[in-house]
């Protein structure tokens, strides 16, 4: 039988048609789709014993409680710790991916001097040489920690400067400290007892203060209600995330916050809506209306709403005496629901005398914002876990990253109660890193070690026998049997919170209506986030959605 070309074609077509009726092609398709899941370059998660640890987030000064899921001693997930008395399990969005930051492409892995790779020995020798040649300055972005005591002690011994940097939230409290002679560190906002909160541009629902503290309060007492128990009035030129959810949004002209505060003050005084007789603001109601773009009646309405539902407190994004004066007028300073004392006494050693004249060198702690520039002429020794980019002058020294070193977390600036927590070093550093305090201790071993300072602070709190430890369960400090037990609780992620001070009232008086400072724009990203980089997953918020603007000057 002759096998023709036609027979071959017919046979092939028949075979193909038959093949389609068999499971073979479908099985092949299915297998291909499975094989593609197993290409060797597809990342495989690490496997190992899984455990849960509690700690505190150290990426800003809020020190939120975190619950860290670890696999093979590596953090694989971060969530809020509901045991934390202030945050109650809430975190900012960035903290949920903070465990990935230690592998960020901009992680500093070696010592650099003017852009070239150097060694720790060279950096130490250069710093010691600088200390011998002239006064040095140490800049601390988050004063009050155990490491801060090391910096202060070193500066004192070297006859140098120790000017702590004040965050925007501490700056916002400065006017009250000036008018009342109470240290800034002893002041806080009693949001829990406030019934009206007037925010002049402060991103209250976007990470202001302690992320979670106000959002929890707002969701419990204000969200969605037509006449909420907690009224949030947001005064801001644009419709921010906070303004969108506020009880009232008052859009005003850019930079007209101080005239508005003066106009409101004028109404309160003219109409005798407040008990105190303060100095008369320099603006008439009409002048305030012209400056802000609001109708005079709208300003009067705002003033009445402020006193309608008391206690009321006014909050600014950063220090502005012209707006802070409203709190004095409203009687909100030294009163429940306003600006309150968070501790009875504030024993603090005399501050290090500032050095007159130029500094030979400046050492910057890793908590100093990347944008901060030291005075010109001084040799800079900057500690940082991540490189913020830009031209690098001086020394760049790799510091521990997220949960890579033991550090203490003192009271956040906006808290109304004293707190103390420890952030354990849950993660082994992936590279040779040193904290600034460790660096100074290697130069001067006679300085007190961070561990010793933490132990001393724990002892001090324990001896006072007041407050509560919020851990696996809440325990009064008075019921704990030893300081070791107290410290152990903190090392396991518990938070100590002090009792309210016995004497919460204090006098705060205005002699004249203060002038205005510039009002800063609310941060586009979570307020208070210190690192110069964002977690890689932050792309979900700005590149893969329109939720936020791309971060300026920060790499995700």
């Amino acid at each position: 039988m002759k096998f023709s070309r036609r027979d071959w074609l017919v046979g092939s077509a028949g075979a193909l048609a038959g093949l389609v009726l068999t499971p073979v092609p479908w099985k092949l398709l299915s297998d291909v789709s499975i094989w593609t899941q197993n290409f060797p370059w597809i990342p495989q998660p690490a496997h190992g014993p899984v455990e849960t640890q509690f700690s505190a987030c150290t990426l800003c000064d809020a020190g939120c409680g975190v619950r860290v899921r670890m696999a093979a001693k590596i953090p694989v997930g971060v969530a809020g710790a509901s045991r934390h008395p202030l945050t109650r399990g809430a975190l900012c969005p960035l903290a949920f991916a903070a465990h990935q930051l230690n592998w960020h492409p901009r992680r500093l892995r070696e010592v650099r001097h003017k852009g070239r790779v150097a060694s720790w020995t060279e950096a130490q020798a250069a710093f010691q040489k600088a200390c011998g040649e002239g006064p040095i300055g140490i800049i601390d972005g988050r004063p009050g920690r155990a490491a801060s005591s090391v910096y202060e002690a070193f500066a004192r011994k070297q006859h140098g400067s120790y000017p702590p940097l004040l965050s925007a939230e501490r700056q916002a409290l400065e006017p009250y400290a000036e008018w009342s002679q109470v240290p800034v560190a002893s002041l806080g906002y009693d949001l829990e007892n406030a019934r009206t909160i007037v925010s002049f541009g402060a991103p209250l629902l976007d990470g202001w203060g302690i992320p979670g503290r106000f959002t929890r309060l707002w969701s419990e007492r204000a969200a969605g209600a037509a006449d909420p128990g907690l009224r949030l009035i947001q005064i801001e030129p644009s419709l921010s995330r906070t303004a969108a959810r506020a009880w009232r949004w008052i859009p005003i002209r850019e930079g007209s916050e101080a005239p508005l505060a003066a106009g409101v003050g004028r109404v309160l005084l003219d109409e005798r809506r407040v008990d105190s007789r303060g100095p008369m603001p320099p603006f008439t109601l009409e002048e305030a209306a012209a400056a802000t773009g609001l109708a005079a009646e709208a300003i009067r309405d705002l003033a009445l709403k402020m006193v309608e539902n008391r206690p009321v407190v006014v909050i600014t994004a950063e220090g502005n005496p012209a707006i802070a004066a409203l709190n004095v007028l409203l009687g909100a300073v030294g009163a429940p629901g306003g600006i309150v004392l968070k501790r009875d006494d504030a024993p603090s050693p005399a501050p290090v005398e500032p050095v007159s004249g130029p500094l030979r060198a400046v050492l910057m702690d890793s908590t100093v914002p990347w944008e901060f520039a030291a005075s010109s002429g001084a040799e800079v020794f900057r500690f940082a876990a991540w490189d913020g980019g830009g031209s690098s002058t001086g020394w760049l020294l790799p510091a521990p990253g997220f949960l890579e070193e033991l550090t203490d977390v003192p009271t956040p600036p906006t808290s109304a109660r004293e707190t103390y927590a420890l952030a354990q070093n849950l993660v082994a550093p992936s590279t040779e890193v040193r904290g600034a305090a460790q660096f100074l201790l290697q130069i001067d071993p006679t300085l007190p070690a961070v561990e010793k300072i933490i132990q001393a602070r724990c002892e001090q709190i324990f001896r006072a026998r007041q407050g509560t430890v919020y851990g696996e369960r809440s325990i009064d400090v008075a019921k704990l049997d030893s300081v070791e037990h107290f410290e152990e609780q903190l090392r396991k992620g518990a938070v100590w919170m002090g009792d309210p001070p016995k004497h919460s009232k204090f006098r705060c008086e205005l002699k004249e209506w203060p002038g205005a400072n510039r009002v800063g724009r609310a941060a586009n990203w979570v307020a208070g986030w210190d690192p110069p980089v964002l977690p890689a997953l932050a792309t979900k918020l700005y590149r893969e959605s329109n939720l936020r603007e791309p971060p300026a000057g920060r790499q995700g």
Partner: protein, 250 residues
């Protein structure tokens, strides 16, 4: 007891912080987007969309709508179009489960989904060097070329089921199974629970006068409900959510 997992999202509580999006991505090993990704090509099994009442000035109002897979319970569009049986409705839980190992990447399901809640993996999943060590060990990384969506954190469900089984129980403790987005929401806007249980808070929330579902007229019985007291927000429910969103995909 029958289980129908679902969510009730209170839009009056949502501040648009995006915490749910990041927590979802971290829990489910969703990679960060390459530089050329957009809102259309990125991977966001949970996506918060900003909407407005389209007014300007002081009259303008904005709200934020977290959108994930709506877990359609009837005539589930993605199930009916999938040629690979890569999507199915789990009879035990009501969760619409996407199985990436069966997916061919034809994207019929994306076309069929009325909520645009499905995403295609355009790129190999990649993290900066070393960061893969921080991935969730309970969740496999999905390959380029497959479709993804919210599966209501299956690793957490399995973990709760294992815990219940170890204790000799047939039903899980509700406290052991909360998806990452609901757990992370700082305002408690996202409530998760069993819609078939009259004693579950989500049941009463889903049946409150302020509750509604997006595109309910399609009859797909989504198991994600929303709540709002604002009339203009409720009015968005029967519009195409794509059109209600400003510049989302622009």
């Amino acid at each position: 007891m029958s289980v129908r997992y679902g969510m009730v999202i209170d839009l009056d509580r949502c501040t648009g912080c995006g915490t749910c999006m990041v927590a979802c991505a971290a829990e489910n090993n969703v990679p960060p987007a390459p530089a050329r990704a957009t809102a259309r090509t990125g991977l966001t099994p949970m996506l918060v969309r900003k909407v407005s009442n389209r007014m300007e000035g002081a009259a303008r109002r904005e709200a934020f709508i977290p959108i994930a897979c709506m877990q359609c319970g009837k005539d589930t569009p993605c199930v009916s179009v999938c040629p690979q049986q890569a999507v199915e409705v789990d009879k035990a839980t009501g969760i619409v489960v996407q199985m990436p190992q069966r997916c061919l990447g034809c994207r019929y399901c994306m076309t069929a989904c009325p909520y645009h809640a499905r995403y295609f993996n355009w790129w190999d999943p990649a993290w900066p060097a070393g960061m893969e060590k921080s991935l969730n060990p309970g969740v496999a990384v999905r390959m380029r070329g497959v479709v993804e969506k919210c599966n209501m954190c299956p690793a957490r469900l399995h973990s709760a089921q294992e815990k219940a089984a170890a204790a000799g129980k047939r039903e899980i403790d509700p406290a052991d199974y909360i998806p990452a987005c609901a757990e992370a929401c700082p305002t408690g806007a996202i409530q998760f629970g069993n819609l078939a249980d009259r004693n579950d808070p989500v049941y009463s929330a889903a049946h409150s006068p302020d509750a509604f579902r997006f595109l309910a007229r399609l009859g797909t019985e989504p198991k994600v409900y929303y709540q709002s007291r604002e009339a203009w927000v409720k009015a968005l429910a029967e519009r195409d959510s794509e059109h209600a969103t400003e510049a989302q995909h622009g």
